[in-house]
Amino acid sequence: MTANLRIALVGNPNCGKTALFNLLTGSNQKVANYAGVTVERKEGVFHTSDGNLLHFLDLPGAYSLEATSPDEAVTRDVLKGQYRGEPEPDVLVCVADATNLRLHLRFVLELIALGRPMVLALNMMDAARKHGIDIDTEVLAKELGIPVVETIAINKDGANKLVDKLNQRGWDAASTQAESLSLEQRHQRVRLLMEKAVTITGIKKTLDDKIDAIVLHPVLGLVVLAVLMFFIFQAVFSWAEPVMDLITNGITDLGSWVTSPLPKDSALFSLLNDGIFAGLGNVLVFLPQILILFFFIITLEESGYLPRAAYLLDRMMFRAGLTGRAFIPLLSSFACAIPGIMAARTISDPRDRLTTILVAPLMTCSARLPVYTLLIAAFIPKQSVAGTFNLQGIVLFCLYFAGIISALLVAYVMKWLRRDKREHALLMELPSYRIPHLRDLAYGLLQRAKMFLKRVGGIIFSLTVILWVLCTFPGAPVGATEPAINYSFAGVLGHWLSYVFEPVGFNWQICIALVPGMAAREVAVSALGTVYAMSGTEDMVANQLGHVIASTWSLGTALSLLAWYVFAPQCISTLAVIRRETNSWKVMAVSLVYLFALAYLASMATYHITEWLL
């Protein structure tokens, strides 16, 4: 007889739950969001040898059923069977970190009080033994009234024992203890359990002490953080380059191979060549950079370092109206604002979370890079400053810096406007250091790559095709003297928009490119290429386009467009995520308006100051 079992994995943050989940379900994972909230919902299936299906649901980490953040609320509601669209789990697997049992047992007791079928997985037993923590699981099982399985989140053995237990339906609902205890009583019970089942012999966590002495030091710690950040940005830009060239060349070759049998003046050739291959190649080329950035983010996350960085920066960010916790979402936003805004759900304070979401689009995401690169290469001379620094590099750095500074200023203004004196809490666990495990890193990167490719295949693909249609139809009338694009829908729209953008120095070609650039910033480059009646791949477009704009635009126009891209909310997906995350059209409208206003003002100032200076 085959059976389907729904199993929820639940536990404190940092208990190694997700590593255990990865181990159990391998690549059979589905990541989505809970309906209505963007809190990650991870489900995976395990096929037992006797044909049963075990559905594992990885619930967001929680310290208590008294939820203080959106992800804790999801965990509470799912466990209590109150989450709409999420069937009540058949069994709970409560995961606790054996090295941090004193804290985690308290939540275990709270879960036991639910009176549900349950198994306790004591995770990281290997680390506990190394730390000289000896746990008598039999005593613990007897005292708690539920089965206890020892697991090591990176080792199949323990996971198999857990699966056997679940498969044999070897769980218990600890009915005798289902009476709810007060917080005080629970702490007392934990103390008693620790006395009975745990002997601590060795010395604890000396390595953590040594690392923290440097990393948490108010001066040395900041130096370490700065060096680390510098290294990451270097790596993102320099390591990715060869792979990016490979992708560009590959797509060019594939494009010319696919389109070679087609006549060069046919609409299909133009659609495939100028539209699809040029457009998608443009975006695909960022995959390496995104993966490298996420490689570092996941590694730092797994290692336990990120909350420490948040601690170091909290004071400064608090002054600016943010919280140290915003560091992690804002760091992710350098790759893309979408995961950054989603990561803001770990901020429990609703005001801090809102501020973080609103300023995240100001972080320079990787989609701005092609625009920056094109304009810098075309207008900023390749000369060195003070002998060592590259002027083009300095301009790029300034653009990044402008984003960060304006985020802090916007946060500060929001804090001032709100005049809300209620307290914000930091209160955050700094987990033990851990060496990141390769499997978890690989799964994390795989998920990011999948999400990105889905975006490329979906929204960016459709948009490229739509732009091509708009630029191609209607064709030029007979006897037309101007380029065909002038008569197309896109041309008309561009001319119309140029009234709005004349004060900031944009010509109608830029105006057309801004429209598809709304859906994805990087499309603006290929759109400019199409508009300037060119075709070909990203590299070709970028090179030739560079010459064209360098000879036809003024420096003021170029700098103004750079300033525009620092601020403009040129990304519908970001706006959609803001709306979904905050569940508010108003917040989305606020971010849209304030970002456009900033972009317009900054561009206008840049344009007029430059023109006046020259």
């Binding site: 917080l183 702490h187 108010p218 608090f318 209160l427 955050m428």
Partner: protein, 81 residues
């Protein structure tokens, strides 16, 4: 004496966590995380000026908190290094 006044490296015992106002969720969370009477704690790190924020170890777990949060935790210093 409260936790915000404790110097780095000093070990202390929690006496009580006081609500800053009625139904204080921060105080509640502090208690849930193990800041309860009789628990030994140690200040691991403090910010540069005025020691804000600070890192405190309770049992084997470390937490970062701001001064205002730490002021809710009343302690009895054990010994000063």
């Amino acid at each position: 004496m409260n936790l915000a006044d404790v110097k780095k490296g000093v070990e202390a015992i929690v006496v009580d966590v006081i609500d800053a106002y009625d139904q204080d969720p921060i105080a509640r969370r502090l208690r849930e995380l193990g800041f309860v009477a009789g628990e030994p704690i140690k200040v691991v790190a403090r910010g540069l000026f005025g020691g804000n924020p600070l890192v405190v170890q309770v049992g084997t777990t470390r937490f970062a908190l701001r001064k205002k949060e730490a002021q809710r935790v009343h302690i009895q210093a054990e010994f000063v290094k």
